[in-house]
Symmetry: C2
Subunit: 387 residues, 2 copies
């Protein structure tokens, strides 16, 4: 299996896009990534796109073909992948295999979601399809409720507090202020989080990631050919994916996501590093508790210590480990199918030293962690700055 | 890139399944394929599943995780792929790359759709998402209407007749009678097709494939290791995929599917054969005109001659070329996400000499052809009997 590197990145601003649609978001991100890679569109041999629920959000399936069509890239093959909020990351893995196999040298991989064309209630129902429709959503358990259960158990077993969870959102908003792509570029305080209304106790409005429109795109290239295009290829040195039960009620343990641990094990093993080598990570903070679970399950902090570590500032920019420098799902926004690709864009920019005011100093390795549903899918990728 | 072979096949009966759901269909097909491959479930390293519109059909996304969960296969990675009615085939290609790359030795690839849990009108709308939602479905053009336009143009340019189209359905029903998995195991006549009601002129009810529930599953293995499991591995010697415009109105030509031609070119080239070597083909006959386009675009008959060839019996079982020995989408049924995988099951059985009363004699190569939408995606695979 040969190496695969990122040679181009493209991102739309994340937010509520009232004046452009699904197709225009794709175009903007894709064209930016093609320009960033300094290639011509005709050099791209295949497209892999992640979208979670376009059927529900905009009445459109067959997204792979739509992307190729919108970009004028027919007749190259184009596929859509879906794994709920990890759709972008599973698209990335399929693209990775297609290049690693030797079938293609240069491919595009994107993620996109246009979530604001339907009501918030309809969007919550569509997103509920990421959980167990029969045993959770049908019975009324939308995603804030599911993560609230995880939060309650973590509080019970480890003494994690609502203030500690709030500190995750505060830190991510502080990073979001430094990111021009972020949906929310506004600082918030612990008090503001604590005084925001309960959505599903103990989770309050400011513990929750928003509904967002956006798209992200990457150009991947066989590492052996990447120097033809760029002096700064960023190699994907490890990738892992794992599954767990769709319904929370079937899990062996409510204070960890086993899929995260398994995916991380695969990625660390392939990359031949452990968590201590990682300088920055974009992790899946769909809710503040999810970031606490992630930084524990990825091995950055021991189990039960994630809340305290967050409160103590150990995950802030250029602290022990820089977590969610983009602002994360909370502040940068969470267009579900695009998130996994946006995470990789952010890590690539950091490793290229192009992250501006939110630059992490001296990073060699960066990690992305993307979760589908309440943890039934997790993907972990490790990227490395070229020597 | 190393070779990849099919070592296991599993299929549910296709039809209207009122007493079982999406999950039970998956289980039946998957377990059959695991038994057929003579492996243990724990030897499977990853799952690739094709489903078109589960969000609309059953309110459930995150199908990869659901499959792994339902089969008790956590924590292995599991992904869902979508390309409308070619969803099964794009899943197969992603699985193929993952094995060809060397990442995995043994993987499962499946397709599933449960279409009868919603009304026919709702199903037609969901299926319309395979076309261009903004420029076709929103304006009322459902799939029978789109294929009716293709039929009209073919009739105008080549003198293709409604009787010739009817002969496709008659032949596929004759094959369906011989297939215990088929939704319709009943002969029909040209007169019956001609006297069935118009759905979208010139297409009548019996020119149209039905709404179907079903699932199909394959076990793929690196060819270099396949003999460990079976004396009869069937190798995927060529695979191609191509894209075209989502909307028919943007096509350069209305009497061919360019995506089929491009995908076939890739597959023939990789397999180092031309169309004359193919003894049997499962082609995408969502409507009778679609089979006529397919047998022309795949090179079995020259452009414009597909209707006459069908009428003359040249595509019947053990004639010039055996087309749709399973009964095709028309008689075997068309659970959209499952169709591409069912096609491969049928070709594998034929190449193993296990097709019973519908056995094609002396076949060395078989082909599958699966279309998404009105031709915005096409996948062609070529399989070969082991020497």
């Amino acid at each position: 299996m040969r190496g695969v590197s990122v040679i181009g990145t493209g991102l739309t601003k994340f937010g509520e896009h009232w004046s452009v649609g699904f197709r225009e978001l794709i175009t903007e991100a894709a064209v930016k990534s093609i320009e960033d890679a300094n290639i011509e569109g005709k050099e791209i041999q295949a497209i892999f796109g992640g979208t979670m629920a376009s059927g529900s959000f905009i009445g459109q399936e067959h997204i792979g073909a739509l992307i190729a069509d919108q970009l004028g890239m027919n007749p190259i093959p184009s596929i859509r992948m879906e794994a709920a909020c990890a759709s972008g990351s599973v698209a990335l893995r399929s693209a990775y295999f297609a290049v690693a196999s030797g079938m293609y040298d240069v491919v595009a991989v994107g993620g996109v979601e246009k979530m604001t064309d339907i009501s918030t209630e309809e969007a919550a129902t569509a997103l509920g399809g990421a959980g167990d429709q029969e045993w959770e959503l049908f019975l009324g358990a939308t995603f804030p409720a599911l993560y609230a259960l995880l939060a309650r158990r973590h509080m019970l077993e480890y003494g994690t507090t609502e203030e500690q969870m709030a500190s995750v959102s505060v830190k991510n908003h502080a990073n979001g202020v430094l990111n021009p792509y972020a949906q929310f570029q506004k600082e918030i305080t612990i008090d503001e989080v604590m005084n925001s209304g309960y959505i599903a106790s103990p989770l309050k409005l400011l513990d929750c990631s928003p509904i967002t429109d956006g798209a992200a795109s990457l150009i991947l290239c066989a590492s052996e050919k990447a120097r033809k295009y760029t002096d700064l290829p960023i190699e994907i040195v490890g990738t892992g994916q794992a599954s767990d039960t769709l319904a929370l009620s079937n899990r062996a343990n409510m204070t960890e996501l086993n899929a995260t641990k398994e995916a991380a094990k695969q990625a660390y093993s392939q990359a031949k590093v452990d968590s201590s080598k990682i300088s920055l990570a974009e992790v899946h903070d769909c809710f503040s508790i999810a970031e606490i679970l992630a930084i524990e399950d990825l091995g950055f902090f021991s189990k039960g210590q994630g809340g305290k570590a967050s409160m103590d500032g150990r995950t802030a920019l250029n602290s022990d480990i820089s977590i969610n420098t983009s602002g994360g799902l909370k502040a940068c926004g969470h267009p579900v199918g695009a998130t996994g690709i946006k995470q990789v864009c952010e890590v690539v920019w950091q490793l290229r030293n192009e992250a501006g005011k939110r630059q992490v100093e001296g990073a060699e390795y960066g990690l992305t962690h993307n979760v589908g549903g309440s943890g039934a899918t997790a993907v972990v990728n490790i990227l490395k700055r070229a020597d």
